[in-house]
């Protein structure tokens, strides 16, 4: 039986070494492109490559087969050097049908490789993809290296004798394509074979058929001499340590688990399903054994309200959502602000307004996050910038909430939430302490709910079950010491100022901005949140090719690092790059009115490409 054969190795002697490569798998939303991409990514990461991924899929779960809007894709960038983005241009496109080819061709530069499944280029599918002539025959692909393979029928041939039904046979075609691409990049099949054995442990027939097809694809590529020689991408030079691949949403979940453990608290998540945040709920619900409690509520409001209740009762409480859900949570965030209870709200941004683009990325919730509540209701705002550092910022958001007794909004976005990259594993002993501000038992009787720490202005946390600290909190304005309801005009003004000052003083507890590239000069690039990979790569490219450009990236948005104004003053021009119409530029213009903030914006549901950034920066450098 095929499964027992030795793992194949390329028979060709010469392996062509590449610095990096971008591979994109595209097909119908039911074709298994996400799984295929993940397998290629994990195998490459285990070989020591730096990797970055970008899944791009439609909002429909199973859109009609062959349709243009039903195309699902997974792009992975593997490298010997540092990789910070999934890459602009595709080196190898694997297109499982005409619609997938049509919608992805513009990302493939001339001369690059396209693998197509010729079995899918039927009249019907060509019509669905709105092709008037067959692109495989009309010469429109002459500028590419097109590898035409009857993927579906070859996959079926490999397993014809197994007695599987038609559907099951056709479903394995993604493994054939994966096998071919594994050969092209000299990757072993071991990781995927182990994965299949585990995933289908109870269905040995499915394991066998998938492995047979995977190997058939690999051997086919080897025998057919698809390319003069297979490529390889050598391991990357990364900071020493133990690594694994993480997706942003999972990293966020783990960051909270670690924070709860460090703080000595149980973790409570109150949440309502919403794309693209639900994976945090899924991940945390797997880990109930660490005292992790996940509560899937009846709506977004109940999600945050249950978390506020859990916070009142002494848990590390969080809620997870995306833009539309955040809009519903606004009133409750105000309650957590006035009751000064610790809670973290995670906003995994997507395209808006309204339902917008649920599966696409955007940074257009910034103003909602900062100001989307009634009254003066400041909260701490932090933003993760890569899939891996979602772990760090979830951890830090929890630490800030617990130590400063305030809601914290953690912003990520669909791009880093679903993207993956190597994460240098941090263990508990490497993480900073978290000290919840619990009252001390000896304070019982003399304690007042709104008495504050002189430095941070944080109040103390007394939770039900602690004798002698019975008290009431609530949404009515509080007396600044006793916490009793107070309508005294001067008290309200004072409390409003205290709530603002408390958040401002967090600047004393966060790191200063570090400027990448040129430390002063003509142009400063400013970014925040999930655009780090693109901006960092583009600025590096500029500086390597001779132009001196500086770059700062904001992870702390409210308050901002103390040296922000000083950094701005070192540059002649400042350009704020963001995936919205200019919300951060608007905020900076208000906070630092002495500077002019130029804008570079993209609102297509997609991340920046490196080249469009480089072009913009060059244009700004040339302009007077």
């Amino acid at each position: 039986m095929a499964v027992e054969e030795a793992n194949p190795t390329p028979t060709k002697a010469n392996v062509d070494t590449l610095e990096s490569a971008v591979i994109r798998f595209v097909g119908d939303s039911g074709d298994g492109m996400q799984l295929t991409g993940v397998q290629f990514t994990e195998t490459s990461a285990l070989l020591g490559n730096d990797v970055s991924t970008f899944p791009n899929y439609p909002a429909e779960i199973r859109a009609p087969q062959g349709s243009l809007y039903g195309v699902s894709g997974f792009q992975v960038h593997i490298g010997h050097g540092e990789i910070s983005t999934p890459g602009d241009d595709v080196d190898v496109l694997v297109a499982m049908n005409p619609a997938a080819l049509k919608t992805n061709l513009e990302s493939v530069p001339a001369g690059k490789t396209i693998i197509v499944d010729t079995d899918s280029f039927t009249k019907k599918n060509l019509a669905k993809a709105e092709y008037e002539t067959n692109p495989l025959e009309d010469g429109s692909l002459d500028n590419y290296k097109v590898i035409q393979v009857a993927i579906t029928s070859l996959a079926r041939t490999a397993i014809l004798d197994m007695g599987l039904d038609n559907k099951a046979m056709n479903r394995s075609k993604n493994m054939f394509a994966l096998g071919m691409v594994f050969w092209m990049f000299s990757r072993p099949l071991t990781h995927t074979e182990e994965f299949l054995k585990k995933k289908f442990a109870k269905k040995p027939k499915i394991v066998e058929s998938n492995i047979r097809v995977l190997r058939a694809g690999y051997n086919y590529a080897d025998t057919l001499e698809l390319l003069p020689s297979p490529h390889t991408v050598l391991p990357a030079k990364m900071t020493p340590g133990e690594y694994k691949i993480v997706m942003g949403n999972a990293a966020t979940a783990w960051g909270f688990i670690a924070a709860a453990e460090k703080a000595g608290l149980e973790l409570f998540l109150g949440s309502y399903p919403i794309t693209p945040a639900s994976d945090i709920l899924h991940e945390l619900s797997k880990h109930e054994y660490f005292g992790v409690k996940t509560f899937q509520a009846e709506d977004e409001i109940a999600g945050i309200c249950s978390a506020i209740g859990a916070s009142f009762a002494g848990d590390l409480a969080i809620t997870t959502t995306s833009g539309p859900g955040l809009a519903l949570k606004g009133e409750a965030i105000g309650l957590a602000t006035i009751t000064e209870l610790p809670i973290v709200i995670v906003d995994v941004q997507r395209g808006g307004p309204s339902t917008g683009l649920p599966t696409k990325t955007e940074q257009s919730d910034l103003l909602q996050v900062l100001f989307g509540r009634n009254g003066d209701s400041p909260v701490i705002v932090v933003a993760a910038s890569t899939p891996a550092n979602c772990f760090d910022f979830a951890y830090r958001a929890a630490k800030l909430a617990l130590e400063h007794m305030t809601p914290v909004i953690l912003m990520t976005d669909g791009y880093i939430a679903n993207g993956s990259e190597p994460w240098r594993i941090e263990t508990m002993d490497q993480l900073p302490d978290i000290k919840p501000r619990f009252v001390k038992p000896e304070e019982a009787g003399n304690w007042m709910p709104y008495q504050r720490d002189k430095e941070s202005l944080a109040r103390e946390w007394a939770i039900p079950g602690m004798p002698g600290f019975e008290h009431r909190v609530g949404g009515l304005e509080k007396d600044q010491l006793t916490g009793n309801v107070s309508y005294v005009p001067a008290n309200h003004e004072e409390m409003t100022k205290i709530r603002a000052e408390k958040i401002k003083r967090v600047e004393n507890y966060i790191p200063e901005l570090e400027v990448e590239g040129a430390q002063s000069g003509d142009l400063l690039v400013v970014g925040w949140g999930g655009t780090y990979g693109s901006l960092h790569t583009a600025v590096n490219y500029m500086n390597e090719t001779g132009d001196k450009v500086g770059y700062v990236h904001f992870n702390y948005i409210n308050p901002m690092p103390k040296n922000t104004a000083e950094v701005f003053s070192r540059f002649k021009k400042i350009v704020v790059c963001e995936l919205n119409l200019g919300q951060m530029a608007f905020v900076l213009q208000g906070r630092y009115p002495g500077h002019t903030f130029l804008k570079y914006n993209k609102i297509q549901g997609l991340p920046f490409t490196i080249m469009e950034l480089v072009q913009k920066f060059n244009q700004l450098l040339k302009a007077e």
């Binding site: 054994y289 409690k293 509560f295 009133e331 594993i425 039900p464």
Partner: protein
């Protein structure tokens, strides 16, 4: 303090109570303060969570842990409190605007999940704090600030709504009956699961006398059937009236007339799982049924969560957070 001794005074905060003079809320407040010392629960373990409205000022007057939250959301907040610390005695204080309108969703879902907490619904059939608009329980045709020509919206019936959401415990008590209120609150706390207590609460300013047809002392004996588990449903000034089934409907009969004997009167079974009879009792308008209409013990959300967590923990391959962080395929960079 395993069995602390308190009086109602220990349960009162130092804050001045600011309801209108003559409001039933005073009676309910004092009834709760008298009930708590009878529960064998240490004072610091009580948490009172309210929404918005006149009744929701309640937690400020209790010398316990409490939160006056946002409109309609108290059941959701209380759910978080109870899940975070199952040892607490958690009370939701809400009104008909708070939990039948803006918080209707949370009201039905807290009941559906059967989380072990007590919910007191102050039903005065009007918006009081916003000064007199009709509420979801206001009767058709009533003239209010926002229905000057008469209310055109069909009202909700709280008992029907609660039972429709599968309430395991539902009681109804008039707001002018302190002893019965206290006893019912004690019974609700002892009940394991979500307890809903509807209090017919008279608003002296905007809806004065709305329940007079049921609660006024001149009519109450003939207009209220107080039910007790295992006892016949007998009522009336002369204790000679009772409820019995006629086909699929309840009817009022008089013992000694038309051959009716005490034997014919229905015995109240609050623990019957099938809620058909409880629904009929809850919906009866004249007379109206008072007391604990339904009290069916079932596993609570908290029990299930605890059970699952224990089960999952015993099978987990991860014994520490480090195990989790280090799990899966990893590689070392030298």
């Amino acid at each position: 303090m395993e069995n602390p001794t308190y009086t109602y005074k220990d349960m009162a905060s130092d804050q001045e109570v600011r309801w209108c003079p003559g409001c039933d809320d005073y009676v309910i407040l004092r009834s709760v303060q008298k009930a708590l010392p009878q529960m064998g629960v240490s004072k610091e373990k009580f948490a009172f969570i309210s929404g918005i409205g006149c009744s929701s000022r309640f937690p400020y007057y209790m010398n316990t842990y409490g939160m006056h939250s946002i409109h309609g959301r108290a059941p959701a907040i209380a759910t978080g409190v109870k899940l975070a610390n199952p040892e607490l005695s958690v009370w939701v204080i809400t009104g008909d605007g708070d939990s039948m309108a803006i918080g209707g969703n949370h009201f039905i879902h807290v009941i559906r999940r059967n989380i072990d907490l007590n919910l007191i619904l102050f039903n005065n059939e009007i918006y009081g704090l916003t000064k007199g608009q009709f509420s979801p329980t206001t009767e058709l045709g009533m003239r209010t600030k926002s229905s000057p020509y008469g209310n055109t919206q069909q009202p909700f019936h709280p008992g029907t709504l609660a039972l429709g959401a599968n309430a395991r415990f539902f009681a109804r008590i008039p707001g002018n009956r302190p002893k019965e209120l206290t006893a019912t609150f004690v019974e609700a706390e002892a009940f394991h699961g979500t307890s809903v207590i509807e209090v017919l609460q008279n608003c002296v300013i905007f809806n004065d006398g709305v329940f007079d047809g049921t609660v006024h002392k001149d009519v109450r004996d003939d207009q209220q059937v107080w039910v007790e588990h295992g006892k016949p449903m007998i009522f009336g000034k002369e204790k000679n009236k009772g409820l019995r089934l006629n086909g699929l409907k309840l009817e009022v009969v008089t013992i000694g007339q038309d051959g009716v004997t005490e034997e014919d009167i229905l015995i109240h079974d609050a623990k019957e799982k099938d809620m058909a009879m409880h629904l009929m009792l809850a919906r009866l308008q004249s007379p109206m049924v008072m007391g604990v209409i339904r009290a069916v013990d079932e596993i609570t959300l908290g029990d299930r969560v605890a059970e699952q967590m224990e089960e999952v923990t015993s099978h987990s391959k991860f014994k520490s957070v480090d195990d989790l962080l280090l799990s899966g395929d990893s590689w070392t960079v030298e």
